[in-house]
């Protein structure tokens, strides 16, 4: 359990912050020792395996398959057969009912999934319980309704399914990203081969049981676990018609290159380095909450995290003071504790990357602040971190850290804020905090980013298109626009 130590000389807190432990029970989750690959509606023994662990305790949770190219080929063949054998020609209204079933079952089993998500991924239970699971179910419910209404979404076009979709998802929102990918693909009449992230396969494997309960025809959704080589086998498979990838810009570019000349459809949701811009006329306490939610939500493992804070010079000092004070109240520790705000870093590799970039920030001359907090001994942990005195050229202001690390920069005028905010190859998201309506719209119009949160941050909804400008990728997920990547139009 994490407990806060009061640092000498820090402002007095209003009372005792100690919380009693409030752990969520793990009893609701029944893990198998070993999981195969889910191909053609059956569990298939993989050629190789690896152990998946809990990043908060380093304990092994289960042994899962490391799918080989031959395994991927079997999965693609199963998806192709299911596509041809009826799924693509099933009336949209029937496809819809399968998706509605999945949404309902996810709601019914939400607690079980939330606990498992926190066990395998390290995110706080209050996030998996209140964000990941409700949104995943909502995504299936939303796209279920589209399945028999596609012709109304694209006037004067005849939408048809693409075929077999290969989907490769990240470890930061494992089940939610599965929902973002699988729901629109199935609604549009495609079949799916999905690879969960190497470190977080378990909720995707549990999802196969939801498919069983929903009686989804065999082969419509196939789940193959494994590392990057499994993903590459999906990308390279000639019988896959469409690739959807969410992950780093580096891997996204490699996939785009690999698919060059193949004619396969591609959508990419890649990295970000979002600006969160705070003007001096904002509601300061709300802005502080938004900044904290923007960068410490999900340990900063969020592609749209507000990792660059731009503070107007006139409020820089009070803003940073309040932010530091708020950081002291963040509870870092056991992901299954209902009071935990910041959970475990997802993997040892990610922790190394965060440490390396934070070290570069120190070396380049930024001032580091971390609230006093006691980190658990086992597992992967990183204290919430704020860098001030950051120059735009520093690596911590340029590169995606994907951790709980905020860089604070300053500006004087809206034009300067805009220029600095847009000065990045990324363009996924941005935040603006001001009470002046015309300025919100002026900024929102000029920020080169796919999502702009004004006086809020990190909000998601199945009806709301999400996706990047520039090197943050192309294509949108969510909303009517999220259907297009899974359809072809012969025109």
């Amino acid at each position: 359990m994490a407990e806060l130590d009061r640092a000498a000389g820090s402002p007095a807190a209003p009372g005792d912050w100690t919380y009693a432990p409030a752990p969520e029970s793990r009893d609701i989750v029944h893990l198998r020792e070993r999981y195969g690959l889910f191909i053609g509606g059956r569990w298939v023994e993989p050629s190789e395996t690896y152990a998946t662990i809990s990043p908060s305790s380093e304990e092994p949770l289960a042994v899962v398959g490391q799918a080989s190219p031959a395994d991927v080929e079997r999965a693609v063949a199963a998806a192709r057969a299911a596509f041809a054998d009826g799924w693509s020609s099933l009336p949209g209204s029937e496809r819809a009912k399968y998706l509605f079933r999945i949404a309902r079952i996810l709601q019914e089993r939400a607690r079980e999934f939330a606990v498992l998500e926190s066990m395998n991924g390290g995110k706080p239970i209050k996030e998996s319980r209140d964000v990941d699971l409700p949104l995943a179910a909502a995504h299936f419910f939303y796209y279920a309704g589209w399945a028999d209404k596609l012709e109304y979404a694209f006037p004067n076009r005849t939408p048809k399914p693409v075929g077999v979709a290969g989907q490769i998802i990240p470890w930061n929102f494992p089940l939610l990203m599965l929902a973002w990918k699988v729901a629109p693909a199935l609604a549009c009449g495609n079949t799916v081969v999905l690879k969960p992230a190497e470190t977080t396969p378990l909720t995707a494997l549990l999802f196969c049981d939801v498919l069983r309960q929903a009686e989804l025809p065999a082969g419509v959704v196939n789940i193959v676990t494994g590392d990057g080589s499994t993903g590459a086998a999906i990308v390279d498979n000639p019988d896959v018609d469409k690739i959807a990838f969410t992950g780093s810009t580096e891997v996204g570019k490699a996939i785009q290159r690999r698919l060059a000349g193949s004619g396969k459809k591609l959508t990419l949701e890649l990295g970000g380095k979002a600006a969160n811009i705070v003007f001096d006329d904002c509601a300061l306490d709300q802005a502080v909450e938004g900044i904290v939610n923007g960068i410490y939500f999900n340990q900063g493992h969020v592609c749209c995290a507000g990792s660059r804070l731009f503070a107007q010079e006139s409020i820089y000092e009070p803003l940073v003071d309040k932010l530091k004070m708020r950081l002291e109240t963040l509870r870092v520790g056991d992901p299954l504790d209902k009071n935990t705000d910041v959970g475990a870093i997802n993997s040892a590799m990610q922790l190394d990357k965060i440490r390396e970039l934070v070290e570069s920030g120190r070396e380049e001359g930024a001032d580091i602040y971390q609230p006093p907090c006691r980190l658990p001994e086992k597992g992967y942990w990183f204290a919430p971190t704020v860098f001030t005195n950051v120059a735009q050229s520093y690596r911590i202001a340029q590169e995606e850290i994907f951790g709980p690390v905020l860089s604070v920069l300053t500006f004087r005028t809206p034009e300067e804020a805009l220029e600095k905010a847009n000065n990045t190859p990324y363009g996924l998201s941005a935040g603006v905090w001001t009470e002046k309506g015309s300025r919100i719209l002026w900024m929102a119009q000029r920020l080169r980013a796919g999502v702009v949160w004004a006086n809020t941050y990190n909000r998601f909804d199945p009806t709301s298109p999400f996706g990047g400008y520039k090197e943050s990728g192309f294509g949108r997920e969510g909303g009517l626009h999220g259907l297009e990547p899974y359809l072809r139009f012969d025109e």
């Binding site: 909502a138 000349g261 004004a454 909000r459 909804d461 009806t463 709301s464 298109p465 090197e471 990728g473």
Partner: protein, 265 residues
């Protein structure tokens, strides 16, 4: 005695001006010496396009529609000249009508392609299309005027700036079109037209880090190479239909931006 006609020097169209290739090179096409653009000309054209894009993309949709309609007027007034450089009068008229059709889309796109999103919470949330930025276009060889217009208008009407490589074998219609564009109120740099060897220019556009989208249209077997280059800055790659006409052609060069704001007292 017959009068000796004054012959035209065919040049590039970059930043609203008509320069020769900085390389000093020309090649012969359709019986004329035509500028053979270099890598440096490509870079200059991209710079001109980037500089011109914010004002064009930021102009009101009504204004963009009128400027593009004005382009149709300018082509209409030169129908005989264009007819000689392409498939004839019919192609010119189809090209003019296509410009008019696209001009009318400028102020309708946000309502057709965007909208308000009914999120489950106290937020107002809307999605609007915006230009992706600088678009590179390889013009088709068939129908040198209509093909070029077909590929130019979709990025333009959405507020992008364009660098287009004219048909290598039939570039004269493109240069004639540049002269119409120059008198059409389109700000200089919004359209840049290069003539030259496609195999030389296309990879430079494909690799250029300040090009956001690339219509590789008639890539003549070079698609894999160009798409590989395009991945370096995650370009939006379009396989342009040389005779397509639909709002979805425009949408290929648009980004969708979604804005959230809380609702409260």
């Amino acid at each position: 005695m017959t009068r000796l006609p004054v012959k035209k020097t065919y040049k590039l169209f970059v930043g609203g001006a008509f320069p020769r290739s900085e390389s000093g090179r020309t090649y012969e096409a359709e019986g004329q010496n035509v500028a053979r653009a270099s890598r440096k000309d490509v870079r200059d054209a991209v710079r001109a396009a980037r500089a011109a894009q914010p004002a064009w993309g930021g102009a009101t949709a009504y204004n963009r529609g009128q400027v593009l309609y004005r382009l149709a007027e300018m082509v209409e007034s030169r129908v005989p000249e264009f007819a000689e450089l392409c498939g004839g009068r019919d192609e010119v008229e189809r090209a003019i009508d296509r410009v008019v059709w696209y001009a009318g889309w400028a102020d309708k796109l946000p309502q057709v392609l965007g909208g308000a999103n009914p999120v489950a919470g106290p937020y107002f949330n809307f999605t609007v299309p915006e230009p992706t930025g600088v678009v590179a276009v390889l013009a088709p060889d068939a129908s040198p005027l209509l093909g070029l217009v077909t590929r130019l208008l979709p990025p333009l009407v959405g507020g992008n700036a364009v660098v287009a490589v004219a048909s290598e074998t039939r570039p004269l219609a493109a240069i004639e079109l540049a002269e119409a564009i120059a008198t059409s109120d389109l700000p200089g740099g919004v359209v840049n037209l290069l003539t030259g060897f496609r195999s030389e220019l296309a990879p430079v556009l494909g690799a250029h880090m300040d090009v956001n989208a690339f219509d590789i249209g008639p890539s003549n077997g070079a698609a894999a190479e160009l798409e590989t280059l395009a991945a370096e800055n995650v370009k939006r790659v379009v396989h342009g239909n040389p005779d397509g006409q639909s709002p979805w052609e425009i949408a290929a060069y648009l980004e969708l931006k979604t804005v959230w704001h809380p609702i409260g007292q």
